[in-house]
């Protein structure tokens, strides 16, 4: 899918910096990034480890607050939002997928998928039906009552995908989603992301796998030392 100018801007970063102290040193994890995420894009953020790509993704997902610069989520400056409002919007607009799955142990697959809906005050019945539907979509219809430690890595990541979709967000943020998976399961996860993008979701994927980025993304931001080195088309 090609970027067109009439597409709505979902997320905008303007000269965003994230610095923090480590002992006496200032770590410039993100050091002046400006970027725009439009609807229905498939974006990849590439870079070697330590290039600040994970921090950038946290900022894009408004999980982190920048040291300086502005972040607009759906046109709203997030620095003007209260913590609770921001959490609410984040839960609704953004779905996260992590390298290490980050499912909650002691909860079943279905309960994990229901968690984001709990925080949006959805009724139990509704969220249960939605969770079941999403798990069937990721081919885990027969694993709903399994606890996370009873699932393989690929299955866990698919639960995470279902969870990311729970509140029907416009943006899916995936941080090295295939990093902990073997090639075959990794491909399956990518296929899901690809399918979601085709269905109209915006996907932002952080990866260090250049082939993966080139093959699937329609826009690649290359990060180095907290700055955007170049932007290429996929």
């Amino acid at each position: 899918m090609v970027t067109k100018s009439n597409q709505r801007t979902l997320i905008e970063l303007k000269n965003v910096k994230k610095h923090y102290f480590m002992g006496d040193n200032i770590v410039k994890a993100v050091d002046g990034i400006t970027l725009e995420v439009k609807e229905k894009e498939f974006i990849a953020i590439m870079g070697p480890s330590g290039s600040g790509k994970s921090t950038a993704m946290h900022l894009v997902g408004s999980l982190d607050i920048p040291t300086s610069g502005k972040i607009f989520l759906d046109g709203v400056d997030i620095s003007l939002l209260t913590e609770s409002r921001l959490a609410q919007i984040r839960g609704k607009k953004v779905g996260f997928i992590f390298q290490s799955f980050n499912l909650i142990p002691n909860l079943t697959a279905k309960e994990n998928v229901m968690i984001p809906m709990t925080f949006q005050s959805q009724s139990r019945n509704e969220s249960e039906l939605k969770a079941e539907e999403l798990l069937r979509m990721v081919d885990l219809g027969d694993r709903m009552q399994h606890y996370t430690n009873e699932l393989s890595g690929g299955q866990q990541q698919r639960v995470a995908i279902a969870r990311a979709l729970a509140n029907d967000p416009e943006v899916i943020l995936a941080d090295e989603p295939t990093g902990n998976l073997d090639t075959k399961t990794g491909e399956m996860v990518i296929d899901f992301l690809k399918k979601l993008n085709e269905q109209g979701k915006t996907v932002i994927m952080v990866t260090h796998d250049a082939d993966l980025a080139k093959e699937h993304a329609n826009k690649i931001y290359w990060l180095k030392d907290g700055k955007i080195e170049k932007i290429t088309k996929g």
Binding site: T55, H58, G61, L63, D64, E83, S84, A87, Q88, R90, G91, K92, G95, F96, F98, N102, L103, I104, P105, N106, L107, E111, I115, P116, T118, F119, Q120, S121, R124, R163, A166, N167
Partner: protein, 404 residues
């Protein structure tokens, strides 16, 4: 407030299994102590007060008191005697003085022997009536003793059971202190266990079988005007002191109004209650600190989980609610178990005491609003204990939390 957070909280507590139970021990000891105390306290108060219910409000009780004062060798109590009785009778406002003796004696029936309390019944018609009134004696069977009876006894309600292997009936002969007596009546079941196990016999017979000389254990003083009870008491105290050549504070006797007797017991009960309440308070405090500790540990262990929940849209207040709900639930479950254990303890103690003192009417008061209050108070303790850990959890930065 999201009710589903409570479901999640209860799941988290169940997942911590043994640790959750251990955490609750302090709470349920504390609540159990309070519940047992309050449930028993009212029953105990009623039972003990019942022992004194036999005392009429228009009577003073004069008793012998062991004293530590006076020159060496004189510590032997000077017993109340005929002289004291006459002295008291001479005081203005005194209607009648009744001598009482309460001793123990061997009681034998059907070749079985036991030691029992024996009380006298005075020999004068008027005085007999005072004792019957004072003790509120009612007959189940037979008749009461009168001034002409000799070698006859009335027995308490307990003797009607088959404790001696063969039923006792009116007209049967029993052996008391190796002397034969005829049973002429049985008392109705009374609220005091001493009365249910007592043997009542004429004064002369009691002195005879136990070889008691000129002495009394108690002098019951009936006053003419109930309103002047304390005035008469003051006069009596002064008179006996002067007669015995004692200074104030050296008394080897005691004059009590019925209210004072109850007050004395109540003071003892209050002290016991205070001690148990203190133990309960300490236990609840320690229990609360236990919950705080567990919750802090839980926050540290679940930092990543907190980060995950924040990344999927949990607000600080949601995390706060979740952790507070967990500590409140620990309090609630601990409280409910505490209430159950407390009631069980109270019932066990009540039946134990009732069995030990046959006929003591010791009932447990099942005060439902109080029990609910106790459980809710436990929830409150849990929540207070969880406030700081929950605040710490809610303020975690999601990115830092995810990185842990």
């Amino acid at each position: 407030m999201k009710p589903r957070l409570i479901v999640l909280a209860s799941k988290n507590i169940r997942n911590r299994g043994v640790r959750s139970w251990l955490t609750m021990i302090g709470i349920f000891i504390g609540i159990a102590a309070v519940v047992a105390l309050i449930s028993m306290g009212q029953g105990l108060q009623a039972a003990v007060t019942g022992q004194f219910a036999a005392l009429d409000p228009d009577k003073l009780i004069v008793t012998n008191v062991d004293t530590l004062f006076g020159p060496p060798g004189s510590t032997a109590v000077k017993k109340l005697n005929e002289h004291d009785k006459e002295l008291i009778e001479s005081v203005n406002g005194v209607d009648i003085v009744v001598q009482r003796l309460i001793r123990t004696a061997s009681f034998e029936y059907n070749d079985k022997t036991d030691f029992k309390f024996v009380a006298n019944i005075p020999q004068e018609k008027e005085a007999i009536q005072v004792v019957y009134d004072a003790l509120n004696l009612e007959l189940e069977k037979g008749r009461l003793l009168d001034e002409n009876d000799r070698r006859k006894v009335i027995l308490g309600h307990d003797y009607m059971s088959d404790d001696f292997g063969k039923p006792l009936r009116v007209g049967k002969k029993v052996i008391i202190q190796r002397e034969e007596f005829e049973v002429i009546g049985f008392l109705k079941k009374a609220s005091t266990f001493t009365l249910n196990g007592i043997i009542i016999m004429p004064d002369e017979d009691l002195r005879d079988i136990l070889d008691i000389g000129d002495e009394f254990d108690i002098l019951v003083v009936q006053v003419k005007d109930m309103d002047k009870l304390s005035d008469v008491k003051d006069i009596l105290e002064k008179k006996i002191r002067r007669d015995r050549d004692l200074d104030e504070g050296e008394d080897d006797f005691s004059i009590q109004t019925p209210q004072q007797g109850i007050q004395t017991i109540n003071t003892i009960l209050d002290t016991i209650n205070l001690v148990i309440a203190g133990i309960a308070a300490i236990s609840l405090l320690v229990g609360g600190i236990g919950i705080t500790n567990t919750m802090y540990t839980s926050v540290v262990e679940r930092i990543r989980e907190i980060g995950i929940m924040k990344s999927v849209g949990a607000r600080n207040s949601d995390i706060l609610t979740l952790f507070l709900a967990e500590s409140a639930l620990l309090g609630l479950v601990g409280g409910i178990i505490g209430v159950i254990i407390g009631l069980a303890l109270a019932y066990a103690a009540a039946s134990g005491i009732s069995a030990a003192f046959g006929g003591l009417d010791f009932s447990i008061s099942l005060n439902v609003p109080f029990l609910i209050f106790a459980a809710l108070f436990s929830v409150f303790v849990g929540m207070i204990s969880g406030v700081f850990p929950a605040l710490q959890a809610s303020k975690l930065n999601p990115v830092d939390a995810l990185r842990s």
